[in-house]
């Protein structure tokens, strides 16, 4: 038994849900085939396999490898957020973005600054 959902009046309500940012244009239409999901899966598989191959076959030097792998991790993480965690549907749910920004701010703050201060001129890592 499907509960009846209370739909809001159509169109922008004038309460801050009019978003003009291009990348936040919502995309909630339900297609007949889950193209987005399949694309996301394919892309993350490809990135993962390339990352493993770079380590296994020593394609590039160690110094560059660290940077490249971390950048690839960030790309893949962004892919997950954008495709699977519905960031493209953000228009109706714009109030979630400050929370996400807070998470990124705290996360990068903790990791970045801890490493910076703890490994400061220590010569390790």
């Amino acid at each position: 038994m499907d509960n009846q959902q209370q739909l809001p009046p159509p169109g922008p309500t004038g309460h801050g849900d009019e978003v003009e940012v291009r990348i936040l244009t919502p995309h909630i239409a339900q297609p007949h085939f889950p193209t987005m999901q399949v694309t996301g899966y394919g892309l993350s598989l490809a990135i993962t396999l390339i990352a493993f191959a770079m380590v296994a076959y020593h394609w590039i030097g160690l110094d560059t490898l660290v940077t490249v792998l971390v950048v690839m991790a960030f790309i893949q993480g962004a892919l997950q957020l954008g495709i699977f965690m519905h960031l493209r549907e953000a228009k109706g749910t714009l109030w979630h973005l400050p929370v996400l920004a807070l998470a990124l701010f705290i996360g990068i703050g903790i990791v970045g600054f801890s490493m910076w201060i703890m490994l400061f001129k220590s010569g390790v890592s």
């Binding site: 499907d2 996301g40 957020l81 699977f84 807070l102 996360g107 990791v111 490493m115 490994l119 890592s125």
Partner: protein, 204 residues
């Protein structure tokens, strides 16, 4: 497509957010995920700082092998894909599809946890426990915290399957499925950084 307003209504807001109360619960779940970012961020920093403090124990290079990590990674990636298919089926109002994909997700999650426990057991058998070095303490805490999150996720998924089968695709159950997929994708993002920073950079 009947009218322009009809289309507009359908894109105003994702279906799980139409009900105000459920929508607030999803926001609450995002706040929980933020606190989890703090948890994992701290553990990642500890690991990064103590990575080279191996004492008399093994170095990351000696401890890790690529095979099991690749298997675990592929399993977890596939499980987040099936998890998103579950929500897709729910949005298409296909209850059976949603339950089936959710079951596949939790089985994949269980095999991930199995592989990880086997890896940990192998390390401990070889004498490499968390007592041995700061590196191993950091490693077991970080990877173990992620593994326990996945385990909790499996328990959650089992309960969700039961609720979906007994209650169907109600407004509440749809929101529960939505928050579960957020949780599961979040764990996948953590694992992406984990296999990169811990395993790949350890092996490299």
């Amino acid at each position: 497509m009947s009218t322009a307003t009809e289309t507009h209504r359908s894109v105003a807001r994702p279906p799980e957010f139409e009900d105000t109360h459920e929508s607030i619960r999803i926001l609450g779940f995002w706040i929980f995920l933020t606190t989890d970012v703090v948890l994992f961020g701290s553990l990642f920093s500890v690991y990064a700082v103590f990575r080279n403090r191996v004492a008399l124990g093994p170095t990351p290079h000696q401890l890790f092998s690529m095979g099991p990590v690749l298997a675990e990674t592929l399993i977890l990636l596939t499980s987040t894909f099936t998890c998103s298919l579950s929500l897709y089926a729910a949005r298409s109002n296909r209850l059976k599809g949603a339950v089936a994909w959710l079951t596949v997700t939790l089985l994949l999650g269980a095999s991930f946890v199995f592989l990880e426990i086997r890896e940990f057991a192998g390390d401990v058998m070889a004498g490499h426990t968390w007592h041995q070095s700061a590196f191993l303490s950091g490693f077991f805490t970080l990877v173990g915290t992620h593994g326990s999150h996945v385990t909790i996720g499996i328990a959650w998924a089992i309960m969700l399957v039961l609720q979906l089968m007994s209650g169907g695709l109600t407004v509440t159950n749809r929101r529960k499925l939505y928050t579960f997929t957020l949780y599961w994708h979040f764990l996948d993002i953590v694992w992406i950084f984990l296999f990169t920073v811990v395993y790949l950079l350890g092996i490299a």
